[in-house]
């Protein structure tokens, strides 16, 4: 199952535990994570369900979008984009 890893910067504001979820895309993986950890959803996604402007997602080391596919052994890293300050 893909593994989702959150930046430690996020932990300062809200609990967001790394976890493994079964999902075919980044969006599905994050959705699964946020169903279990609803408090973290608004920190990564905005009210329209889109990735926040200053949040990056990398899949296996490559910058990714929500619609991108993930493999069963992918690592999904969610981190702060430096454009956000």
């Amino acid at each position: 199952m893909p593994r989702v890893v959150f930046t430690s910067h996020l932990q300062r504001h809200v609990a967001a535990a790394d976890c493994q979820v079964s999902a075919p895309t980044v969006a599905a993986a994050l959705d699964a994570v946020f169903r279990a950890q609803p408090q973290a959803r608004g920190y990564v996604l905005d009210e329209q369900g889109e990735l926040r402007k200053h949040v990056f997602v990398f899949v296996d080391g490559r910058r990714a979008a929500l619609a991108d596919a993930v493999r069963a052994d992918s690592a999904i890293h969610v981190l702060q984009a430096l454009t956000g300050g």
Binding site: Q39, Y43, D46, E47, Q48, R52, V55, Q80, G84
Partner: protein, 336 residues
């Protein structure tokens, strides 16, 4: 009494009896608005990466609970609106009775009747076709920075927008009308300079004891209304300059108001590097320039929209100066 100072570096609470700082809150995070109301403190955070958050404390800041920030509805697919329907900043928080109001960027006014647990967008204002003519002032998108609630008729609300003029509701925020007649933007093309919908009011305040009197620090000068914002007239006697962001009005004396003039719009510094406050005591017919206690050399700080406050007594000018010194550079004050 406590002075709540919201800054880009956190929220600071000052005991105004001794002028001492207590433990800072949200240190290192931008606090864009603060409100103390009915035993609670509300703090709006603007986390650079992780969005706008809202926290509430029921114990004077000992602990904070995360509550839902306002959320914009989904933009209709056929909408030609170029403004994002996303919360970018809570620019001001106000309250009257059981109702909280949040003025936001990109221009939505939100209301909560459950102490901030949930919010609803005032669609009567958001859906006005005139909103398409609003534009950003200091930000990419327009924002509501001033909310004035009539102290006796709480359904009577006036808001000011950078840049979208002054709008007023008499029915609790259901329907709205423009209320910027008499303001002018001389930097606009001549045929548009009196357009009420494009006026850049930097900050607007209403006198609690005489709510028909309002003051506005506008991009183009200083204005006063004595008829509940039906009409405005310019106070050209303001000194040392007419440009600035902050304004405060005496709670009991509608003829007394304070401004913090800056050099001019293309160079946003105190004039001659001296920080001063301009005060009128005659409704704007004349102004005196207050300098005592303020930096009079090498002062390069701008006092931004919410960086000036007076307390309920309105009298201790020294407190105003001290608040100014503490809150220079984009501070937002809430004095309760």
């Amino acid at each position: 009494m406590a002075l709540y100072v919201a800054t880009r570096k956190g929220l600071f609470i000052i005991d105004t009896a001794r002028w001492t700082l207590a433990r800072p809150h949200f240190l290192g995070d931008a606090v864009s608005a603060v409100l103390a109301h009915d035993g609670a403190i509300y703090a709006a955070l603007n986390l650079g990466h992780f969005g706008v958050k809202l926290r509430r404390s029921e114990d004077r800041g000992e602990s904070w609970q995360e509550i839902a920030p306002p959320a914009y509805p989904a933009k209709p697919e056929d909408s030609a609106d170029k403004t994002p329907w996303k919360l970018l900043q809570i620019w001001t928080l106000e309250a009257a009775g059981d109702t909280l109001w949040a003025g936001t960027n990109p221009g939505g006014l939100f209301r909560s009747s459950d102490r901030g647990e949930s919010w609803s967008l005032a669609r009567g204002l958001w859906d006005r076709k005139e909103r398409g003519e609003w534009f950003g002032g200091g930000y990419d998108h327009p924002g509501i920075h001033s909310i004035c609630i009539h102290p006796r008729e709480r359904r009577h609300i006036s808001v000011a927008i950078s840049c979208g003029g002054v709008w007023q509701s008499g029915d609790g925020g259901e329907s709205w009308r423009l209320a910027a007649k008499g303001m002018h933007a001389d930097y606009f093309p001549p045929e548009r300079k009196h357009d009420e919908n494009i006026q850049d009011v930097h900050r607007m305040v209403q006198c609690p004891s005489r709510p028909d009197v309002l003051y506005a620090q506008h991009h183009n000068g200083v204005f006063r209304s004595a008829d509940g914002a039906a009409t405005w007239h310019e106070l050209s006697a303001i000194a040392p300059s007419k440009f600035g962001f902050a304004v405060a009005v005496h709670p009991k004396d509608a003829d007394t108001a304070w401004f913090v003039p800056a050099d001019k719009d293309e160079r946003r510094l105190p004039l001659d590097a001296k920080l001063v406050v301009a005060r009128t005591r005659d409704g704007g017919a004349s102004f005196e320039v207050l300098r005592k206690g303020l930096p009079q050399e090498h002062a390069y700080d701008l006092v931004y929209r919410h960086g000036l406050a007076v307390d309920e007594t309105g009298e201790p000018a020294a407190d105003v100066r001290r608040a100014l010194c503490l809150g220079r550079r984009q501070a937002r004050h809430c004095l309760r």
